[in-house]
Symmetry: C3
């Protein structure tokens, strides 16, 4: 299975061109759109998101990850294996957190270039081809070169900031919920949140934080839009107050 | 074929996670996104929509239907068979109209839970798995329990209200068009509409009602946006005046 | 491979119904969404877009192209082969540029109609079926009739206008970049652009034009939104000043 994780948007003709290229090289692979609305140009938020998503996918999954404002410049393209899964994308930090959180990580630089290479769309021209070959079990060793480590590495710890806002207005943070006791209070943009198990556990219009379906601390209002209400944006900080 | 019908939105990472889970359990099934923008939290509008869509799909199709503000609380999960098709979703009314409109309907409660179950994403953790097993012909009898009827049932008659507005601004209603004579006038938010066969049958900027591609009465303006013009919203009523 | 190119939008239930129909007739074909946000009703912009996209897809690809405000009226439906690829859609100009730019083009009128035909959704009821049959190698000769030429033909030369604006705000034009020397200046809505290879080649916030990934002249601002900044819209003209 090949999984796409980009900032290409869902309305533009970029994802489809990338998929067509994948199908050319790996006609029988399933291709899944995970997210095409990672915050634009924001490799840092993207790095926390892909690290949280990855463990929910089966081993052997190949992710194409593209948040790539430096496309066409000197930044390198890489393949990372981590936790039994594969990641193809730019070496701009985007893959550094999933790599750091898995002890078995390895990194390769993609040295291969196709004969015709656009300056702005390596997702189609390079990443799609490499991912297709890995997914069909045909590891492209001759197109790669082992690399000791990634060039750009973000801090792999939790990030106490909003990293994604969904269409319901729920605000995902880069804080993993497993380390936060249920009695903790969370404050963001003046709003205060206590824990609840899920939406239906609180009254309509009531805010709460919960451990979301990928294990991150998420802020929400039952049948409401917490991002609109508080003016929350990607990058805003949260404060977590653990119980005494 | 598995068909997805949800309020997850097209931009968020929910649909992709659900699809990946389906592919794990039924790797060779085709999965089709029918609609991910059913009005948020609105099981009533959703129930009329899925009942209208279903007959256009081949027998054996498995629909995953998720408009589920009560996820993680006491509401039950169900499998419904109706008209030779399958429906997996919450027992909150969403599946009640398609069930009521088919004489052969049967209902099962999903008693199975996976070892790891999120509180907010049963679409991925439960419905995807059950639907995958049904679709590949491996009916999960041991995960289900026959149920006499659905717990929540909406009126299965027509609904003279707007239930969906598309990106052209066309307003779908819950009124089946087959029972409305062509000479009828329709009034909504002060606008008045007579019947036309299709868009090109009326002048540019002219409004009309027509029997849409799933048999519902729909309001439109040729090359215009009727919802914007009249301020129509999901839930607004329409009045149908049949000819004398 | 079947590729979809429409103005159906990504949020509405039109694409899914069309795909389901394709899967009924050609269950093992890959179906790729190229673009569902071609400018609404704008067959002219669509014609330049599909002509630019097509050469990047492998021979044998079948495109379903729908920008079809005249659906249900007298306009004919056609199949076009051009450059070894197939195109199914309305005869309203949409397919005329890709046809004119390939010396081997042939045209057929679709004379077939299904027993149940909606007035507003020929993409599902006609085009999906014809495309599925072509894609699986079962050319539907009995449903077609050779036609000397298309009824509606647009000028197949370059179009010095904006034809698409992506979600980053980048403005695609109908001007093929291969004929524009790198030293050229481009003016649009009072903004002036010189050439750069790609985004990272200019400073943050700086505008430039470049040959985009399908060979069209595109206007952009590095990490900015050129369409918002200049108020650019589809249809706006550009002026190209070649160096002396």
């Amino acid at each position: 299975m090949i999984v796409l994780f980009t900032d290409f948007g869902t309305s533009d003709p970029y994802v489809g061109q990338m998929k067509a290229r994948i199908h050319e090289y790996a006609p029988s692979q399933q291709v899944v759109d995970l997210l095409h609305e990672t915050p634009d140009y924001n490799a840092h938020a993207g790095a926390h998101l892909i690290a949280a998503f990855a463990p929910n996918f089966p081993p052997g999954t190949v992710f194409i990850c593209v948040v790539d404002p430096g496309v066409g410049t000197g930044r390198e393209s890489v393949v990372v294996t981590a936790g039994g899964r594969w990641f193809v994308g730019p070496d701009n930090g985007l893959l550094s957190i999933v790599a750091a959180r898995n002890a078995d990580s390895k990194v390769w630089r993609i040295k291969w270039q196709p004969e015709v290479l656009s300056t702005s769309f390596h997702g189609r021209d390079i990443f799609a081809v490499i991912a297709a070959e890995i997914a069909k079990g045909d590891f492209p060793a001759n197109k790669l070169e082992a690399k000791a480590k990634l060039h750009v590495e973000f801090d792999a710890g939790d990030l106490a900031r909003v990293i994604y806002i969904d269409h319901f207005g729920n605000a995902w943070t880069g804080q993993r919920a497993s380390s936060i006791p249920a009695g903790s209070r969370v404050v963001a943009k003046g709003g205060e949140f206590s824990n609840a198990e899920t939406f239906g556990s609180v009254g309509k219009g009531e805010g709460f934080w919960f451990a979301n379906s990928v294990g991150l601390l998420e802020l929400a209002i039952n049948r409401g839009n917490v991002a609109d209400k508080l003016g929350l944006k990607v990058g805003d900080t949260i404060q977590v107050y653990k119980p005494n």
